[in-house]
Amino acid sequence: MGEREEVKLLGTWYSPVVARAKIALRLKSVDYDYFEEDLFGSKSELLLKSNPVHKKVPVLIHNNKPILESLNIVEYIDETWNASGPSILPSHPHDRSQARFWSAFVDDKWFPTLIATTITKSENAKAKGMEEVGEWLLLLEDAFISISKGERFFGGEVIGFMDICLGSFLVILKAREKLKGENILDKSKTPSLCKWANEFLADDTVKNVVPEIDRVVKFMREFEAETQTRA
């Protein structure tokens, strides 16, 4: 395969799911062209053409073929550039099913509940949501201890699929903690996850790829102010 690969990534700087694709590409040392989309203004022709069904980011375009949905993109990167870097998914089918299960849990339950608590105007709903987020972090703490087997990451010595999935939300989580003065990832309740979070954010494949916490805090503050003036 000597032909020149053309890899493009359509995304936004603040999107945690776009960060997943960037981390995976970094792990495999893949060169790519990045295109920043203006989702609040006008979506590009390329985005609308590549993702006509959902019109969302990230979109990975490899030799003109679009791949959609962040976790699909990570698996695709893992398989396509399998010789270029560490394996992102575990090798044993049962471990792979666990990684996929927990990732789906994070995407379908944990993160949407966390986001809902920022949007809801009901204090009751917010409290209930935060309680669930906390309970589920305890589950993730157990999962981490069991899966990591004493290593730094879910993936072992090196960042893997589950690290990328949950880790990509850490900046938003920490930005939220800073903005609201909350303590969501609590060292007294989930000490292993807290340690993992620091390891993840300090890792070479992550630190220059995810946005800075303060930049996200500013973005959240502006976004909140704007949605309140519109409401």
Partner: protein, 220 residues
């Protein structure tokens, strides 16, 4: 090595049908255990799927695998020597997974509305339902199966809904036939496979089940 494969299932579930079909396509011997989800979930189900407490649950040599799409991938990877279900090519695999997610997020939710809602909400749901079927039909194109010439992953993900289509139409009081004849032909073609014919329930039974659900949830 003696393999122990147990499937915790509930007969109307279009998700459970996926796992059953995948196991049958791979000719895996398994023990089928029917759960009574309405009255009494078994201790085994609660132990093996403590987070969602849902079926299907695949238990392989004592270890649980939850979520039907993840189960089909698992089955394909463990019993990889025969009848591959997912495409080998990473791009085609990514496509198949994208459409599986589309089916779960859009078709399932919309289908439910055809029997669980009324008035304006029902009318919107009926329109959306037909649009979703047209989108899937256009993805199928003129191929015999979603994967091409062979029955595979995406066919397995969608086919369970085929047993629910008559009920959706009956309760929603609409017809999907004229707009989705190609998809209906695909459904009939899949039903010719033993794995599918022995895994899908009689659509009449689904109708009866929906009546039971409506009573349970107090939906008129």
């Amino acid at each position: 090595m003696a393999e122990e494969v147990i499937l915790l299932n509930f007969w109307p579930s279009m998700f459970g049908m996926r796992t059953m079909i995948a196991l049958k396509e791979k000719k895996v011997k398994y023990e089928h255990r029917e759960e009574d989800l309405i009255n009494n979930k078994s201790a085994l189900l609660l132990e093996m799927n403590p987070i969602y407490k849902k079926i299907p649950v695949l238990i392989h040599n004592g270890k649980p695998v939850c979520e039907s799409v993840i189960q089909v991938q698992y089955i394909d990877e463990i019993w990889s020597d025969k009848n591959p279900l997912l495409p080998k090519d990473p791009y085609q695999r990514a496509q198949a997974l994208f459409w599986a997610d589309f089916i779960d997020k859009k078709l399932y939710v919309c289908g439910r509305k055809t029997w669980a809602t009324k008035g304006e909400e029902l009318e919107e749901a009926k329109k959306e339902f037909i649009d979703i079927l047209k989108t899937l039909q256009s993805e199928l194109g003129d191929k015999p199966y979603f994967g091409g010439n062979s029955f595979g992953f995406l066919d397995i993900v969608l086919i369970g809904f085929y047993s629910w289509f008559p009920a959706y139409q009956k309760f929603g009081n609409f017809s999907i036939e004229p707009e989705s004849s190609i998809l209906m032909d695909w459904g009939k073609r899949c039903m010719e496979r033993e794995s599918v014919a022995t895994s899908l329930p009689d659509p009449e039974r689904i109708g009866g089940f929906i009546l039971q659900l409506k009573k349970l949830y107090g939906i008129e």
